[in-house]
Structure formats: structure tokens, C-alpha cells
Symmetry: C2
Subunit: 351 residues, 2 copies
Amino acid sequence: MKITELSGVKEIARRADVSIATVDRVLHNRLGVAQKTKEKILNIIKEMDYKPNILAKRLASKRVYKFGILIPNDHNKAGYWKAPITGIESAYSEFGEFGVELSYYLFDKEDRKNFVEMYDVIFEQPVDGIILAPIFLKESMDFAIKCLENRVQYVFIETNIPAARALSYIGADLYQSGRVVGNICQYLLEEKDNVLVLNIAKNEDSAEHLEKRYEGFKDFMLETFKKINITNISLESDNAEILNYELDKLLKKKDVRLIFVTNGRVHLVAEYIRKHKLKNVKLVGYNYTIQNIEYLKSGHIDFLICQKPIEQGYRAFVALYEHFIAKRKVNNVQYMPIDILTKENYMYYEY
Amino acid sequence: MKITELSGVKEIARRADVSIATVDRVLHNRLGVAQKTKEKILNIIKEMDYKPNILAKRLASKRVYKFGILIPNDHNKAGYWKAPITGIESAYSEFGEFGVELSYYLFDKEDRKNFVEMYDVIFEQPVDGIILAPIFLKESMDFAIKCLENRVQYVFIETNIPAARALSYIGADLYQSGRVVGNICQYLLEEKDNVLVLNIAKNEDSAEHLEKRYEGFKDFMLETFKKINITNISLESDNAEILNYELDKLLKKKDVRLIFVTNGRVHLVAEYIRKHKLKNVKLVGYNYTIQNIEYLKSGHIDFLICQKPIEQGYRAFVALYEHFIAKRKVNNVQYMPIDILTKENYMYYEY
DNA sequence: CTGAAAGCGCTTACAG
DNA sequence: CTGAAAGCGCTTACAG
């Protein structure tokens, strides 16, 4: 309005008849300002509806925030964990590059000790915030406690430990994702059919999560069909021979119409179906991985459920960015969409 | 490395032994720099792998870019078009606020003339970039030409006009989304079944788009079932009575097992199914709207296909941002994922 | 408890 | 064709 109107801190300082240093002190709630001056400035800030210019802030501030990434490495494997890293890096390049430093602490997901080793490194070169996949329950709780002690913020992706009270959890609602599988499968089944649900996990800590998916699935099924026959088996190995042996046994006993694998190992079952040329068994499982997509394309897998691993990483970075740099409140829980992939829509999924 | 190492333009200037103003001229490819000086500076830039600090750039630059939004208003309606606006505004608040001004040119989607009126306004208060839904074909082509003449960049969302060569198109691959419907429906049908595909559109310009969806659906169906019976009907009205009359006729003639509505008007058919208590007709259609979701919840609609209207808006803003502010190359075509919604996963979709 | 001044890495007149 | 200087809206020592 006024031609000579200054903006931002200068204008506040002018109106309050103080220096911008004092305004800055009030803005950051620092000590050493007379109560009267403080109130006056606070009022002016409210009056002006002052919004700091985040650009200027970041440019002027020498502060560099250090964000760490503590997730499994799977170099040689199909690489499910590359996806969140892609997402993190894309968020970083979009609005993190100045004032944020990224460091990687990748661990072997079959090796509990390695997880602990890696997280110990973090506290030697302290970071401000960390993005982690808490796949080892107890160790992750320990880590969370150490973070609290060291005032390190942490964001969980993929799986949650509600008790650990992370800054944010970004991932799927496991129970509900099981219901989604049920919802789709109702169209693949009839009343009297036999269904096999397989939990294939080497790490016992994930049993609980797979169980939640199974619960969701089962609940939906029982609401829909009265006499559906569901068998739930857990295998603690991903060895193909063991799996083949078990499947031979299970499929011989009953006429199974549908197999639901509660995680990304569904490709192992797909391979079995391909080898044995089974025509009448529908197969549903989890995760966009190279192997799974191949079997989706070839028709051995009918549906894959997926929870946007790339975007999980993206949002995890944004959560830390919002907390530290934009200083905005972050939601504790950010449930991802539960996506349904088929051979006709997977190609547009990666985006 | 060196303690006294300056960064950015200053360092370039020091190395080239010129002033930063000259560096700036080269950086922006402005006239008035001796060829020799220019080359020297260019070499240093390459050598240093110089990346401008976008924060400083935006802070120093007084330039404000004006982005316009030319999409339908649907105040009273179910509000499909609110979603892209939400997305645009969220991108704006994330990294647009400084240096971007947003203006709205909302038009009546039933009124061709109003579209033209609104776009005429745009050229009176010229904008730099515009996000539009080109739902009127010819008028949108005219608009595109005027944009080219006035050096205004335009981004299409929701529907594309490839010939118009927009900066970017952000939306679905229509043919492929029809195939996705086919892919799901294969599980709802058997060989000899009758299928009804309904195009319900008042605006004749959308006929072509609905046709593409139908093509995708039909192709998939014919690849999967040899003797499937598909009837394709187009209605140029969304009047409930007319629709009821047509549906009475169509459903009496044949035992229809599945109805596929090629756009968001699927709720009209859902209402018919509800009223007539039809139990054996599956229903599939498009778009996350309040009405459609209600019928998804109640089970009258089995699946909805959706293409992230919120994110379309978000990305459209980002496309303009990247082009004007970050000065990065923007992809001409950004196909959105083709999402499948059911009564069990719709609740996590809006995010 | 308070202020003057330099600086973040750019852009933008203006002078020569 | 080139450079010196002011300024964007903040932060950060430093001095008093």
C-alpha cells in the first residue's frame, strides 16, 4: 500500500522502533529481550500476519541439516529398497539441496547385528533426522530410545512400531491392505473354494505384520462367503526346495483355487505355478519388484498389492524437511494408498 | 579445499578475472560480452560444474511469474475439478509462494462460449503459464494458437490434444485405462456373458476420449474371451429419465452381467441398479467423486478407475515451476498411474 | 537487554 | 564490452 512500506523483519523493526536483531530474537524465541519489547513485537507480527520468507532464511542460515537413511541394501537382490531411496533423492533434489546433507547407512536385511553396527555409526557422526525401515523390532526400539536421548528425529517407512512414537510413520495400513486383497479375491472365488494363504518370511519379526494382512483378508472373506475354506501356512525359509515340497503336499491334499502370499515373495510361488503349468490357481501377492512384475506380465500372478515405495521415501524426506526447515507440524501417521497392480496398469506405476 | 575458495559466481569471476556482472551475462546468455571472455567463462563454469543456487536466484530476482488456471468450476456439482485445484495449491504452497502468482479462470463446463470468454480475459492480464483442461476441442486449439502467439506456456491436464503441443500433458493413457477395466472385468465374467458399455456425455467433444477407453476395454476382452458379447451405446444426455428408459430397454432384451460406464457418470447407473434392486449386474466406471464413492461403499459399484486428479494439479504446477523457475526440461507427456478403487481401498486414496 | 554491520549467492540498474 | 554497488529478506557474530 504505502510506497515506502518495507517488508518482513525490517518493517516489523520499523513499526516497533527496534532493530531487526531484536525482531529476530523474538521471532526465534531467544532470551534477552525485555518483556515489554517482546510483547510489542509479537503484536505487530500478529497484526501483519507475518510469514517469514523461507528462501531468505535458508540462504542466510549457515545451518546444514544432516539426514540419514537407515534401510536395507539389496544390491544384488530384486531391489525393493532401491525405490524409497529413489524417492528420497528426488525430494532432496527438489527442495533439499541447499542446507541438507544426506548420508547412507545401508544394512544387510538378514543380519540383525549389522543393523546395530550401522546405527551405532550414526551416533558417532550425529545426524539431525533419520529415515529408517524398522524391520528388526527390538533393535529398532533400542534405536528409537537412543534417538530420543540424542535428540535425533526419526521417521519410519514401510513398517511401523507405534510404541516407538516416530516423528512420522509412512506406509500402509496392513490390516486394510489384507481386506483389499479379500475384496479383489471375492471375484476370483466361489463359495466352496479352497484358499491357501502363505506367509514366507525368514525374519521372525515380520511375522506379526504378515499376520495383520492375513487377518484383514480373512475377515473380508468370512464376511463375504459363509463356507470358504482358508488354510494359513507360515514358512520360515525362502528356499525353493522346501517351498516346492510344501506346495506339493498342500496342493495334493486339496483343490486350491487361490494362493495369497502375504509379502513380496510371491514370485517364488509364481515360479512353482509356471513350472507345474497349473492353470486353475489364481495368485495374489505384494510388491512391485522386477521378479514379481515378470510373473504379472506372464499371467502367473493375477494381482499385486503395492504401497508406493518411491513415494514413501519422498514423503519421509519431506517429513524431515517440514519439521526442521519449514518448521511445520508433521502428521504422525501417513497411510499410503493401497494400490492394485495388474498386467495392464503396472507400466504407469513407477512414476 | 582452499580456505579462501569463494563459491558460485564470485569464484567464477575470480578465476576468469572479470566482474560477477560479466559472469551473470554469460550465465544468462545475454549480449554484450566479448567472445573471448565468454569462452573463458564458459570453460570455467564447465570445469567447476557450477550449479546456480536457486534460493539466491529467486530471492534476488524481482520477477514474479503469473500462472493461470483454466478449468471448469463445479461449485454445486460433485466437484471433480476441485481436486486438481487442491493439487495446484498444495504445490504452490510447497515451493511456489515466493515469485509465483496464481490466478483463476474457472468456466462453466457445459458452456463453450464461457470457456472462450474466460480465456480472452487471460490475454488481457497476460500470464506466463496456464494450466488447462482442454475439454472443448476446437476452442482449446484456438487457445493454444493464441498462447503460442503470446508466448504463453500451457499445460494440459485430464485430457490431451496431442496436436496442440503443450509444454506438458498430465493425465491418463485412455486406451490403456480401458484395458485395465477389461483386465479386472475378466474375473467378473464368463465366456458367453453379455456386457454393456455406456458412454454418457453431453459434450460431444468427449466422445472421442470415451471411445478410446472403450477400444482398450474391447481389445482386452476379445483377446481374453472368444465369444463375449459387448454392446456399446452412447447417450448424449445425463437425464435420469432418458437413462432409465434406455436401461429398461437394454436390460430387458438381454441378460446383462456387467455394465461399464466410460466416465464419471457411473453413479447414474448405480442409482438405477439400486432402485431396481438388481443383484447380478456388476458395475465398473470412472472417477473418485462423492457420489461414486457412496455407491462404491454400498456395493452398487464394484470398481472405479481413477487417475489421481489431485496429483495431476500438483504436477501441472510443478511443470510450470520447473520450466520457468528451475529452468529444467519438462516431459511432454506424463502419464498418470491408472488406479483401481474398491470399497476397501478408497479411504486411503485422497492423499 | 539492544543495535550496527557483514554476509548468504544471486540480480539489477547504472555508469563508464 | 565491462564493473562497482545496492539490494532481495533473512541470520550471525560482535560490540556495547
